[in-house]
């Protein structure tokens, strides 16, 4: 029942934070839209007044791609660079977005106003950025170590002549392990950010320490909540992307409708993520309330370094 109450609390907080979510959607859309608009005009100028697009009605056509090769290679190179910049920019912007969301989701922010979102994002930007960066690096390191170790074991097995299919089994096994560890790292990141906001701290390393402490203090409950939310998010994402990517509207109106539906679904996707933040915030607040009522000190890890 505790699981359900936290999920419910997270969902309610998420819905109340709709202004922040819409701002996030709009900014992400503008960023991607700039790249997409330049890609579209590039394609338009390459195609010109040709009717070759008739070959693109069903699916991407390799003959057309080849015929457009010179212009297309320039376009792909510039879109790829733009895409990399977009990833970088999103990573940085996400520090602002998640800082703002955790602020608006917390009890401190009872009115759930837009200023709450913006001030939370601005005042916690650097600390949240450091938390995001460190947890991302931990994830990459953990995934690389697990994958690397398993690959090494397999390649050395059978006297350097592994059984057929052993490597693909190792890859699948390492993906499963990383997938099981993913909720833990997400919990650490979410608890750390929620703790940072809840305690008006600017100490990212202390926050990460608190994140680990909180994750393992309420291990089973937190893990179950996170697993449920990840499954819902992933299921939603897979379903939406597969359906939308597979759809083939053949008229301008159909394409516009697809655009509208896709954006509504993406906003729902952002609500689901905020639901995760809200549920973890609820878990943290309950723990801290319980600790205070029992006269215990808050679960804070010793700061490793606060010179950030």
């Amino acid at each position: 029942m505790k699981i359900l109450s936290h999920l419910k609390s997270g969902a309610l907080r998420s819905v109340k934070s709709w202004k922040g979510i819409l701002i996030i959607w709009f900014l992400i859309f503008v960023m991607i839209g700039i790249l997409a608009a330049s890609a579209k005009s590039g394609l338009k100028s390459m195609i010109g007044s040709s009717m070759i697009t008739e070959l693109l009605r069903d699916t991407v056509n390799a003959d057309v791609l080849t015929d457009l090769k010179e212009g297309l290679s320039v376009l792909i190179a510039s879109v790829t660079k733009g895409f990399i910049l977009l990833i970088l920019f999103t990573f940085i912007a996400n520090a602002f977005f998640s800082g703002g969301l955790f602020n608006i989701l917390s009890k401190k922010c009872s009115r759930k106003s837009l200023s709450c979102f913006l001030s939370g994002g601005a005042s916690n930007f650097w600390s949240v950025l450091v938390i995001n960066l460190i947890v991302s690096l931990i994830f990459i390191a953990v995934a690389s170590i697990i994958g690397g170790i398993l690959a090494l074991i397999v390649s050395k097995s059978g006297g350097g002549n592994p059984e057929p299919g052993a490597m693909s089994k190792a890859i699948r096994f390492s993906i499963i392990i990383v997938a099981l560890l993913l909720p833990v790292l997400l919990l650490v990141a979410d608890y750390a950010r929620a703790w940072l906001i809840g305690n008006d701290s600017k100490k990212p390393f202390s926050a990460i320490g608190a994140g680990f402490v909180m994750t393992f203090k309420k291990c089973v409950l937190s893990y179950l909540v996170m697993i449920i939310l990840i499954i819902i998010q992933a299921g939603f994402g897979v379903l939406v992307v597969s359906k939308l990517m597979g759809s083939k509207p053949s008229t301008g109106g159909g394409v516009f409708l697809l655009f509208l539906i896709s954006q509504i679904l993406f906003i729902i996707r952002l609500f689901l993520r905020t639901w995760r933040y809200g549920s973890v915030t609820s878990l943290l607040e309950e723990t801290q309330t319980t600790a205070v009522s029992q006269g215990q000190s808050e679960p804070v890890a010793e700061p490793l370094s606060d010179q950030v």
């Binding site: 040709s50 070959l55 991407v60 003959d63 015929d67 999103t90």
Partner: protein
């Protein structure tokens, strides 16, 4: 077939003697990891040796080889041998894959090959095809590789696109489809050495790593282009005749072209000239490119003039404004940008729904078609069915004022969706 089997008595060695009629090459394989599967197609007993881990691909492999048997038997000639063995080598010995010997060949695959990727089927069809183009029609692969690999690739592409989908012979995924013939054309078009040599050269003289492109891809694209000109039925008849005349002999390129000339003359008379040498001289034995372009089209309103008014030092025309002045003079301007000249169709569509199909011998550097009437040209297409697959640029084959940008908008929309979700996933 197995003639005798003699055990040496030591429990480790034995002697097997096989006999096969009319074969020009042989091979053998042994590996304890193979699973052995047997099947039949009409008179042919088929054996497949495949690693256990790929047992889910057995059905795919048998389907591929049976499709190839059926298609080549119908369109070229009967498969003469009662046995056929094919092998899918394990990953650690993948280099043994994709090799042909008469009545035995090796395919290529990978563990857990996705259903949407028809690579194993393609290799199986190709290597089986060598039973015809090298096995039965035993041309010299080193002197004229196009007659072996090129002709065989042409048939492989036809088989793949016939059985696995006209646009999905090699890849059949909802997000991306690709025909086998497109893969060949792409390899030819993207090759930097596509104009450095001709198929008149022996294969050991091909420069700049062009062997694969010249032997497989360009030759197959040339044959597709020939089929686009003379038609599929004539093309099949050429190969049936080639089989009838040259089965179990050693034909050369000139022998094949002689068959082409004979059959085309028989079917089409002098429609394409006294012979088809003009085609092979330009494409197979030349280095030129095919590129035709719709330069532009215009629709000009025709007006009568009542007369000329002279005013001081200037003159002006006085147009006749009547109900009948909405007559248009429409002009289609076509260019030949490449060196190769081929006959082609030109489709002109008018805004009243009328469509005119013109033919052009393609020899001049430019060609105009003139029309006058009450309707205007909507669009123009050269080679509307994309049959001249040697054309290096399909994009300039058509022109319209109303380009359908819906597919582009759809792809851009999907790019936005993909990017949004990707960025959302990688953000914590």
């Amino acid at each position: 077939m197995l003639i005798s089997e003699e055990n040496k008595g030591d429990g480790k060695n034995k002697t097997l003697i096989y006999r096969a009629e009319d074969i020009c090459d042989f091979a053998w394989t042994a590996w304890p990891g193979y699973d052995v599967y047997n099947d039949e197609w009409r008179h042919v007993k088929i054996t497949l040796l495949i690693p256990h881990i790929r047992k889910e691909q057995v059905e795919r492999q048998f389907r591929a080889v049976k499709n190839a048997l059926e298609y080549l038997s119908e369109n070229v000639g009967p498969f003469p041998w009662p046995h056929l063995t094919f092998v899918d080598p394990p990953t650690k010995r993948a280099f043994a894959g994709g090799m042909e010997y008469t009545t035995i060949f090796t395919s290529t695959s990978a563990d857990r090959m996705p259903e949407s990727l028809h690579l194993p089927e393609m290799v199986t069809v190709h290597e089986f095809g060598h039973g015809y183009f090298m096995g039965i029609l035993a041309s010299n692969e080193f002197e004229e590789p196009w007659l072996d690999e090129g002709v065989n690739s042409f048939w492989e592409e036809r088989i793949m696109d016939h059985y696995w989908g006209e646009n999905s012979g090699i890849i059949d995924h909802p997000l991306f489809k690709m025909s086998d013939k497109s893969m060949s054309r792409i390899s030819y078009l993207l090759s930097l050495g596509r104009q450095v040599t001709t198929n008149r050269e022996y294969s050991w003289n091909y420069p700049h790593g062009t062997y694969s492109m010249m032997s497989y891809n360009k030759a197959a694209t040339i044959l597709y282009t020939l089929m686009g000109i003379i038609g599929e039925d004539t093309m099949n008849e050429i190969f049936r005749e080639y089989y009838r005349q040259w089965a179990f002999r050693h034909p050369s390129g000139k022998d094949f072209i002689a068959v082409v000339n004979e059959v085309v003359k028989k079917v089409h008379g002098d429609k394409y000239g006294p012979d088809m040498n003009w085609f092979f001289d330009q494409t197979l034995y030349g280095t030129g490119l095919v590129d035709y372009r719709v330069s532009r089209y215009t629709n000009s309103k025709i007006r009568d003039f009542k007369g000329i008014i002279s005013e001081a030092d200037s003159q002006r025309f006085v147009p006749s404004v009547t109900k009948d002045d909405s007559v248009y003079k429409s002009v289609v301007e076509l260019d030949r940008l490449g060196e190769i000249t081929l006959p082609l169709d030109v489709m002109i569509h008018f805004n009243n729904g009328d469509t005119i199909m013109e033919t052009w011998d393609g020899r001049e550097r430019f060609k105009d078609f003139n029309y006058s009437g009450t309707s205007q040209i909507d669009w123009v297409k050269i080679d509307p069915e994309y049959k001249l697959r040697m054309d290096v640029n399909f994009t300039n084959n058509s022109k319209t004022d109303k380009t359908d940008m819906v597919p582009v908008r759809r792809y851009i929309n999907k790019f936005i969706i993909f990017t949004q979700y990707f960025l959302n996933i990688i953000s914590l």
